[in-house]
Chain length 283, copies 3
Amino acid sequence: MAVITLTTDFGLIDGYVGIMKGVIQGICPGAVVIDITHDIPPQDILSAAFLLHVSYPYFPKDTVHVAVVDPGVGTERRAVALRTSNAFFVAPDNGLLSFIIEDEKVEEVVNLNNPRYRLPKVSATFHGRDIFAPAGAYLAKGVPLKELGQPIDVEDLITFPIPKAHREADEITAQILHVDRFGNLTVNLPMERVREKGEELVMIRLPDEAHPLRLHPQSLKIHIGGYEISGVRRTYAEGNLGEPMTLIGSAGYLEVAIPGDSAAKRMKMKVGDEIKVRIDRGC
Amino acid sequence: MAVITLTTDFGLIDGYVGIMKGVIQGICPGAVVIDITHDIPPQDILSAAFLLHVSYPYFPKDTVHVAVVDPGVGTERRAVALRTSNAFFVAPDNGLLSFIIEDEKVEEVVNLNNPRYRLPKVSATFHGRDIFAPAGAYLAKGVPLKELGQPIDVEDLITFPIPKAHREADEITAQILHVDRFGNLTVNLPMERVREKGEELVMIRLPDEAHPLRLHPQSLKIHIGGYEISGVRRTYAEGNLGEPMTLIGSAGYLEVAIPGDSAAKRMKMKVGDEIKVRIDRGC
Amino acid sequence: MAVITLTTDFGLIDGYVGIMKGVIQGICPGAVVIDITHDIPPQDILSAAFLLHVSYPYFPKDTVHVAVVDPGVGTERRAVALRTSNAFFVAPDNGLLSFIIEDEKVEEVVNLNNPRYRLPKVSATFHGRDIFAPAGAYLAKGVPLKELGQPIDVEDLITFPIPKAHREADEITAQILHVDRFGNLTVNLPMERVREKGEELVMIRLPDEAHPLRLHPQSLKIHIGGYEISGVRRTYAEGNLGEPMTLIGSAGYLEVAIPGDSAAKRMKMKVGDEIKVRIDRGC
């Protein structure tokens, strides 16, 4: 059974999402359609790109991910679809697939300009209904990607730069990747908890280093917005109400939180802002 | 695979929608159930009627549309279902199907009073669960409409008057049909963009005129709430932040918007209010 | 077709629910997944427990109900699943199944500790994805409950006490079980409307009395937060704007409401608070 996901900033109030699903069922009857979210902040392409990046790995092979955050709808911006060995992605060509292009080996990209795989009338304001939902549904139905339009080079897709953490000696400079609805901050430091020789360690994979760091969770001092947070906790339950803490978020990144409060507001941090992580070897 | 849509003012917080879907799966296992919206403003029948009107054309043939905005639940108001050549509609008899009755040739209407196709116990407060969801599910399962209750004449259904735009010489008087969550105003002027002899024109279909008007988009001057807006744009992207603009909305109606602001609030316009569109032939 | 329900406090903004559904489709392709709600107030286990209690009876036999409100995620609290003759329930062992254990004869309970039926990596912060969604999906797929982990006694599950109404002579003492999003109050008095000898009566089932009371709706005087409300109405439509009223809610409990206002706020009542119902035999 084909699976299609939807990620948009359309909200659930005005019926736009329901209409997209109607179009999908008309083309690919019985498709399983799953909402990732429709509450992306209006026109926040980066936020949608990040959410897609952390969500798609949990879907079955060959799922078709349709993402529509589309400030340029009706302009010259292209509608595109791409195929990797794991999944299909359908979106406006506006940077929404930036993370995916880094995550995956892209095998094929097309410009969704074959009118046969759009609705007969294409409006200037709702390509989610007229172009993206049909494209997703035809892919889910098994139409080969190349039928949907002309091939384009993956290098020609619009992407935004994804900030990378880097280390100099014992200081790591990292950036805020995402702020969730509770004001928790996701940092671009991929982390994992591992157990070695009876000890719980955190393993940090820095993008430009061949070998992951293995460190005691207490050895990390996080400097952010004037605060210093010592150590990386396992769970929210280990934190204290109102006190800044860090843990490894469910997407496998360092996360900064203040239980019962918004870290983003209290620390005045937003996407792109820098933080420092110092490694205290004496610890 | 049968498709059922749901349109209600129940919200998603209290579990009512989930319960309706449970009832549906019990009667018609595997039915594809699609939410149009559950965020109709409480008891706003007109808003639900409009949303159904703009949404149902995008669903597969024979979709069963169940709509429940039901201030009269538990009173003498009837529960009804009707069939057109395209779809089924199930709703309280309170005007919710007013647009549908205008849009479609209604082939059959019944009063949903056959207890066999309701839940065994019918509460006085939740007919969405006890009457409407079961009716929708039995129709999706293929039970003939006439089994669900006694036939009634379509003329006997309760409807509210739908305001119609009309033209005198070069002035069109029209009305606000709907206000969306951004405060954008949908006007009862069906419009389409057409290309003729290399020119982009807007085609306006007035309900009491045999032939559509074909006009240059710049020839239209929209007078609304003390504002004059010149011309009809193609996309939101052509507007300027904070400046009133018009375009053809995704449902094929004239739409008045203020990028970054609520046109409804700024212009103090609400559903039913009048606007004027002047045609400037000199243009 | 297997049906799985989801009840969480995850909200729909951050994509967590979509990820759970992706995991489910990967394990049990084509499963019908129904949201009961994802808007449980954060960490409000009691509210989730109540909603599950009033919702599950409307789902098909053998539906798998997955509920995740989990303040103790990542701590020593157990993840459990149980089977009754009607359905499966999957949840953290924190009281979330308290009502279910009272409602149903529990046939089997397991601790969800078999790693084979979890995701390969289990995070410390998102067991909805890593443990509960997989468990629900495997059960929906037909894996026997006992495969999912070690058996435990139902008596060993954590439950919270569910307050019970009781009667002394003509005075019933009852408690608020739930407050809905409109501020309507659900009281732990199971009621039903019956018609006997041409008269409409309310039938009240008190948990420690063998025979239900049969009373004229007007004979009940409800004393709550300093207000006295006379009689039990059939529908909201019988109430007056701003005036306290009672009726039998859709879940079959006495409900206290103020049309157009929040009874919870106006009467300063919350879950657990006591109310009195006096039976006026002279009536």
